[in-house]
Symmetry: none
Subunit: 295 residues, 2 copies
Amino acid sequence: MERQSEIPQLLGDLISRNSTKLTEADTRLLDVMMQDPIRAAMENGKAVSFRAGVHPASAVRLARRLGFKGYPEFRTFLQANLIEGGGDFESPAARMAARLVRAEDGGVLSSVLDSEIAALQQVRNAVSDADVRGFSEVLRDCRRVFVFGRGHSAALASLIALRLNRSGYPAVDLASQMHLIAEALATLGPGDVVWLLAFRKASPLIHQIRKIAAERGAKVLALTDLLSARIDPAPDRQISVSRGEAGESQSLVVPMTIANAVILDLAAIDDGRSLRALSGFKAFRADCGLSPVIL
Amino acid sequence: MERQSEIPQLLGDLISRNSTKLTEADTRLLDVMMQDPIRAAMENGKAVSFRAGVHPASAVRLARRLGFKGYPEFRTFLQANLIEGGGDFESPAARMAARLVRAEDGGVLSSVLDSEIAALQQVRNAVSDADVRGFSEVLRDCRRVFVFGRGHSAALASLIALRLNRSGYPAVDLASQMHLIAEALATLGPGDVVWLLAFRKASPLIHQIRKIAAERGAKVLALTDLLSARIDPAPDRQISVSRGEAGESQSLVVPMTIANAVILDLAAIDDGRSLRALSGFKAFRADCGLSPVIL
DNA sequence: GCGGCACCGCAAGAAGTAATGCAATGGAAA
DNA sequence: TTTCCATTGCATTACTTCTTGCGGTGCCGC
């Protein structure tokens, strides 16, 4: 099949090449397709031809006329066009291949960078601004925050608690207070928020804490990967991100970035509370009289 | 079907709503879908399940578990989500416009992602594989590691210490042991390594610790940004990176990624020591008899 | 260690989609 | 006007995709 050697890169190209032999029905079909290429690439021949007001058989014949073996092959072409042309959306396979090539000639660093960047790119698809806003709204309206994570997530939990405190939101890192955890949970009530972090394996403690929060009417935020997404009862707000490539990514880059976005968004919706607290903290540190060694 | 009155606007939403009943196969499928929602919306159940490495039947069952009548209805939902909400793959121009609109009305997430990705890209120019290797070699040949960071860096320090320990390198996070810091430093000697972390403002403690390490013949690694790069006397190895735009990027993404690269590189040059320790740790956790609540 | 339970893959059957032979319509040339 | 040809729509056939009952397997609680 010589078409392979000269696959038109665009639908428009393809049309102009064959414009002489196009019929009335073909035109109607292509018109509909050009108006909404996304739908065209997703729908099946029957649906497209219905929208074009022609018989499904015409869609098949158009595909063949354009040089494809059948309609499915035509649709595959449309899809490939969209995905490739889409800029950020290389196919995962292509991305993986690129990474392997780079990993071969480069060292560890560039391959780590590649995989972190790819993971961050994927966040665009997996997490919406509404998700972030959901978290920040809950935080804005709460009295106290308890952050909890075990293992690697513990580091992230302490960072989140630190940043929330500096933004004027009373936050406690439960993991660093394990010996006081019962006391902390005992005072939990409506108006409090528990922010859970779980990756790769949700600690049983996570579930117990979630249960206690439910009983006491505290809200629950959960930032997890898909492996740890099962929390019962479901958190009030949850953001689940892909755990990335098959490789055991130990990285906290993605969740940390999401947490950063939440805290930044919080500052955008709390009428200056965060900003005031931050500058207050700065001033305090400057002239509190404490030794700089301690700070 | 009452689902119609409350159709979740996003796949993520839908996952968190049903997160409790998701199975292993479901997770694999959703993972693949989240990584490339466009493909997922276009492909049929068979293709998606193949990419996820599960049986097509699992795709159907996932769809039903999520509340759809069957897989086709699930795919229709995915498509609808993309068309109205995402705009993730309109023409490049349209996408750019959409991004601007989103950024204007507060799309914090994507701007955070952009700046983190840009910061990671810069690392390629600022840090070489030789720098990474320099760190990992020092770590490989040392007896003990002391990691130190204040403020935000403290979270990173604890993460580094945790990972080094799991890799079989005795490491202590000094910041979490502030009350014992004198005792720890008192035993410092040749063969020990101090890994310093400093960003935006090097704590005076950093300099004192560096001085003590010099007197006692311990090696010093420093991971800093350019503002905190002046440590006297100079560390044995130092990596200085820009943490992103001039804006007050509080993010630890860049240093964390470099630390990850170092630890990964360490595993590549220590003849299996890291790998053995990691699998040893895994085995220990599995049958040490300790309550999983603690771990 | 033994039942009970949930999950997964398999494979047969059901549903839906695509392809093709055939007849009807409409237009152009003889 | 008649004939021929292209194109469309319909209906049937062929094919792909989806669904579902069944048996094997692993895990948890007893």
